[in-house]
């Protein structure tokens, strides 16, 4: 019985990942970019702060967590825990880095944009 349930949950998760494909939402794109910007320092709090200053709006750590989870599910980012620190009650940080798939989809998104930008007639912007 347990096995059946497990199988069902596992396979349904998988299906979801396949379906979502490589499409990036705008918010996700920004999250990925901030991870790239932060480089070695890309852990939860820093990403949250980066996003808050860039987007000029407050954003909760909880909301960020949801986004990060989604991205990790899609395979765009990977994470690893850092060493223990003296700050933050000795709790370890979780650092995020982009996977190749992540970088690829960022690139795709950028190309798509640039391509479309190039097609915009100059007059209509001024």
């Amino acid at each position: 019985m347990k096995q059946i349930i497990f199988h069902y949950v596992w396979s349904s998760n998988k299906k979801e990942i396949d379906m979502k494909g490589s499409n990036l939402g705008e918010f996700q794109e920004i999250v990925l970019l901030s991870i790239l910007i932060l480089d070695d320092e890309a852990y939860g709090l820093k990403i949250q702060q980066e996003l808050s200053t860039r987007l000029k709006r407050k954003m909760s750590r909880g909301a960020l967590h949801t986004a990060l989870t989604r991205l990790e599910e899609k395979g765009f980012i990977s994470s690893h825990t850092g060493g223990a620190t003296a700050e933050r009650g000795g709790r370890r940080k979780r650092f995020y880095t982009l996977t190749n798939a992540g970088k690829e989809s960022l690139k795709q998104a950028r190309e798509l944009r640039e391509e479309m930008w190039s097609l915009v007639p100059k007059l209509s912007l001024s």
Partner: protein, 865 residues
């Protein structure tokens, strides 16, 4: 430390709902942000931000359904606890029985006490207007006695309503004694004359009819009981009754309403209500503008509590009006007693229209003490048995600890087990209270306390009891048992089956408590028989009496009765011992006091059997004696007269000479203190009572003869006589109920203490099975073994009984002083009986153990453990 500044509750909350694997990083981030925020915005804002962040964490991706799994583990752990509890309950039926029985008894008593307290404190609280209605009381200048009286000047209500704007409404109450006739039903009845506001002031809803009818002078409103008495179950609205006020006055009233059954918890009610304007019929000389006259109660409605002081102040202007008319008894002020608390104050207000609940409050106090005692007995039993029987669970505890249960978990397990037992006991206790204790108590006092199982308050009280009992009885055993070291358990170095200092102290306490309750039971029983035999100060057994209805009645009836050979003497009086008296003010040099007064025939005092201490009786037809009084000893003491004979007492500025002193006597019951009393000569035309001294053996026949004569003389007026020994009504029944009640408590105490002792001794013997088996083999005789078992407790018993005896002596003495005005002189019988009973219990317990020891096989005994 910055970590210490985090909002603890939110941290806990977050830790609770967050997925375990996410908690470290998320809390780390939040904490780091918190530290930065402190620098940026200060602690307060940082804490707020943290709180907000935690709340925003409540989302699918963070909230830990993953932890559900570990919750399931908890569940099965608790299920396991329950299973083990059940098993250990089943395995040790004796201990379980003692525990559950004791706790359910105690809980039953607690629930009963709760029910009674509820009933007491709910008195009158059903009146919706209780916060707005006040009783006006008059304050007297008198030195002693009651500080205030409910009797107020007659015109007061009218002028208050007219003059003082804060007073919205007023209502007067007066009483009348009438003969009520409907068809063949003729009875003497007490009626209330009230203003139409009565039914607005007090929440006595009507079953039939309308309250507005009270403004009609010809309407009468009945209580449900009276409606049943006269009309059965029928709706009587529209029927008529004839009210006879005296010989001349009679009036027909139409029934306009019937009240619903009154709530059980009330300090006053009515039988019949008629409009106050009928007062002329009751008191022909009534004058509603005469400040010298008075009314039984004046009630006012004041909506604004802050107007109270002003109202009182403005009421002082009426004092002079009243005091001009009655300079014999000056009023120094008026007070306003709120209806809400009236029942608590009523015993301090003379002639208050409501009864006080003071004696009930005393009873609540006693019951609470008793419940605490019994609860303590039961809890101590539990603790003792749990500690001693821990030996049987040692291996289980050892294994649990080895597998990884912490001390806390083991303690929790035992606490839960105890809560489980208490739960069980709670159910039984509730049933005991509802179907045994409360009906028994209600039956004894023939009242209903309206106990209702479906009340939120009751259940929250029960929950409180459950937790309190469960934890207070379980906490020590749980801590004690969970302390055992695993190594010690398996090595067998832990000594078990022995009582420690605590169990001994608790047992000692139990013995003391039990001896208190047993001594009370014995003393209350002794007291009730003592009271039965206590002299009333006169001869009630050879006395019958009857109330007289009109001025000629005495002469007519006395002539007839004197012819009866069994009648020794006949006399009359304006009042009668045990029935009624007047109050008046006596002025003597140095002291002015209110005393009881009775106008009597010359032979009345001798007929009733009062004993003359000094001086002489009245002489019939002696003109001089018209200005003479006979007083009782208490009168002499109150006025501190050295030589009472010849002293002159002023009554209404007329001087009366004391010619005799009678010994003190109890006119109503032993419940009240003996009051100073005077007797005056009175003309037979003004006698309200006739007292007849008869041959005690022929009392019944004489009484029937009296009844017959009455019926032939006054066929219209119901006979109102009685045996003198019945005048105290339920007093002796009540006294004997006290005995019964305390006996029941004592029985419960003996049972609990006995069971506890039995459990303790049997576990102790069980722990020494091997020792006794060896003794048996070596041929020690059983008597010695018995002494050996008993010896273990000898010192404890000695000490506890000495202490208990002393304490119970003072305990009973205190209770007696609080509850009775007169009681049996304290003696040592209660103490002796309680010591004796407890010793018998000990001997019995040892004896039972011995006989079990005799039967037990030695081989099995040696093989234990």
């Amino acid at each position: 430390m910055i970590g210490g500044q985090l909002p603890k509750l939110y941290l806990k909350l977050f830790e609770w709902f967050c997925k375990a694997e996410l908690f470290e990083e998320l809390q780390g981030d939040l904490e780091e942000a918190f530290e930065e925020n402190i620098k940026l915005y200060g602690v307060r804002k940082a804490r707020n931000i943290y709180r907000l962040e935690v709340l925003k964490m409540i989302r699918l991706s963070v909230v830990g359904f993953g932890q559900f799994h570990s919750k399931l583990n908890h569940f099965s752990m608790f299920r396991n606890y329950l299973k083990t509890s059940m098993r250990s309950l089943m395995k040790n039926p004796l201990s379980s029985f003692i525990n559950i029985f004791g706790l359910s008894m105690a809980i039953g008593v607690c629930v009963f006490t709760y029910g009674f307290a509820r009933w007491t404190f709910d008195t009158d609280q059903f009146h919706e207007q209780k916060d707005r209605i006040y009783l006006v009381t008059s304050v007297y200048d008198q030195e002693d006695g009651f500080p205030a009286s409910g009797i107020t000047p007659r015109p007061l209500a009218k002028v208050l309503a007219a003059d003082i704007s804060a007073i919205k409404n007023t209502c007067r109450i007066d009483y009348g004694r009438v003969i009520l006739k409907h068809g063949d039903e003729v009875f003497h009845e007490n009626i209330h004359l009230v203003d139409p506001e009565y039914l607005e002031f007090f929440t006595f809803p009507l079953k039939w009819g309308s309250p507005a009818a009270l403004s009609n002078h010809n309407s009468i409103i009945l209580s449900e009981r009276m409606s049943e008495k006269y009309f059965g179950d029928e709706n009587p609205v529209g029927e008529t009754v004839i009210m006879m006020f005296n010989d001349q006055q009679r009036k027909t009233f139409e029934v306009a309403g019937v009240a619903q059954e009154f709530p059980t918890s009330r300090s006053f009610h009515f039988n019949f209500l008629i409009n106050y304007d009928n007062i002329k019929l009751v008191a022909p000389d009534e004058n509603s503008n005469d400040w010298g006259q008075s009314v039984a109660a004046t009630l006012v409605e004041i909506d604004q509590p802050n107007e109270l002081e002003n109202t009182k102040k403005s009421m002082t202007k009426y004092l002079s009006l009243r005091n001009e008319k009655r300079d014999d008894l000056l009023i120094s002020g008026f007070e306003l007693e709120p209806l809400k608390t009236l029942h608590q104050k009523a015993h301090n207000i003379r002639s208050c229209f409501a009864f006080g609940s003071n004696s009930d409050e005393k009873a609540v106090l006693f019951l609470s003490i008793i419940s605490v005692f019994i609860m303590a007995l039961a809890c101590f039993n539990y603790i003792n048995i749990a500690i001693i029987s821990a030996s049987k669970r040692l291996k289980e505890i050892g294994i649990r600890k080895t597998i990884g249960a912490s001390r806390r978990l083991v303690a929790v397990q035992f606490l839960i087990e105890n809560l489980f037992v208490t739960c069980f006991a709670l159910m039984i206790g509730l049933v005991l209270a509802n179907y045994l204790f409360i009906p028994w108590f209600e039956g004894m006092f023939s009242f209903s306390m309206g106990f209702n199982i479906a009340s939120v308050q009751l259940w929250s009280y029960l929950l409180g009891i459950l937790l309190f009992t469960g934890i207070s009885s379980g906490i020590y055993p749980a801590l004690y048992i969970s302390k055992f070291q695993v190594v010690g358990i398996f090595k067998g170095t832990i000594r078990f089956g022995r009582d420690n200092a605590l169990t001994r102290i608790l047992l000692g306490f139990q013995l003391i408590l039990a001896s208190l309750l047993i001594a009370s039971g014995v003393m209350f029983t002794l007291n009730s028989s003592y009271m039965h035999n206590r002299s009333w100060g006169y001869e009630p057994l050879s006395l019958i009496y009857t109330r007289l209805s009109d001025p000629s009645a005495y002469q007519l009836l006395a002539t007839l009765m004197s012819q009866n050979p069994e009648v020794k003497a006949v006399s009359g009086a304006s009042g009668h011992l045990g029935r009624s008296h007047d109050d008046l003010i006596v002025d003597m040099p140095g002291r002015k006091l209110e005393v009881r007064e009775m106008g009597v025939g010359a032979e009345y005092l001798a007929v009733t059997g009062l004993q003359l201490k000094t001086g002489r009786w009245f002489k019939a037809h002696h003109q001089e004696d018209k200005q003479a009084i006979i007083v009782n000893s208490s009168f002499v003491d109150s006025f501190s007269l050295n030589d009472p004979i010849g002293a002159v007492a002023k009554i209404d500025s007329v001087g009366y000479r004391v010619i005799g002193v009678v010994n003190d006597f109890h006119s109503y019951s032993f419940e009240e203190n003996i009051e100073p009393t005077i007797f005056r000569l009175e003309d037979p035309e003004r006698f309200n009572f006739m007292a007849i001294q008869v041959n005690p053996e022929k009392k019944l026949e004489t009484y029937e003869a009296l009844e017959k004569h009455w019926a032939s003389l006054f066929p219209d007026v119901p006979f109102q006589g009685g045996y003198q020994e019945d005048t105290w009504g339920d007093y002796f029944r009540e006294i004997s109920i006290h005995g019964r009640f305390w006996r029941a408590v004592a029985v419960i105490a003996i049972l609990l203490a006995g069971l506890g002792l039995y459990g303790l001794v049997s576990l102790n013997v069980a722990g020494r099975t091997k020792e006794f088996s060896v003794r048996k083999i070596l041929g020690e005789d059983y008597w010695r073994m018995g002494i050996r078992i008993a010896k273990h407790y000898a010192r404890l018993f000695g000490l506890a009984l000495c202490l208990g005896g002393g304490i119970s002596y003072y305990f009973v003495d205190t209770i007696f002083t609080i509850s009775y005005a007169y009681h049996i002189p304290m003696n040592g019988w209660g103490v002796v009986a309680s010591v004796f009973t407890l010793l018998v219990v000990l001997v019995l317990v040892v004896f039972v153990q011995l006989s079990m020891l005799k039967k037990r096989s030695v081989v099995k005994g040696l093989r234990t453990e």
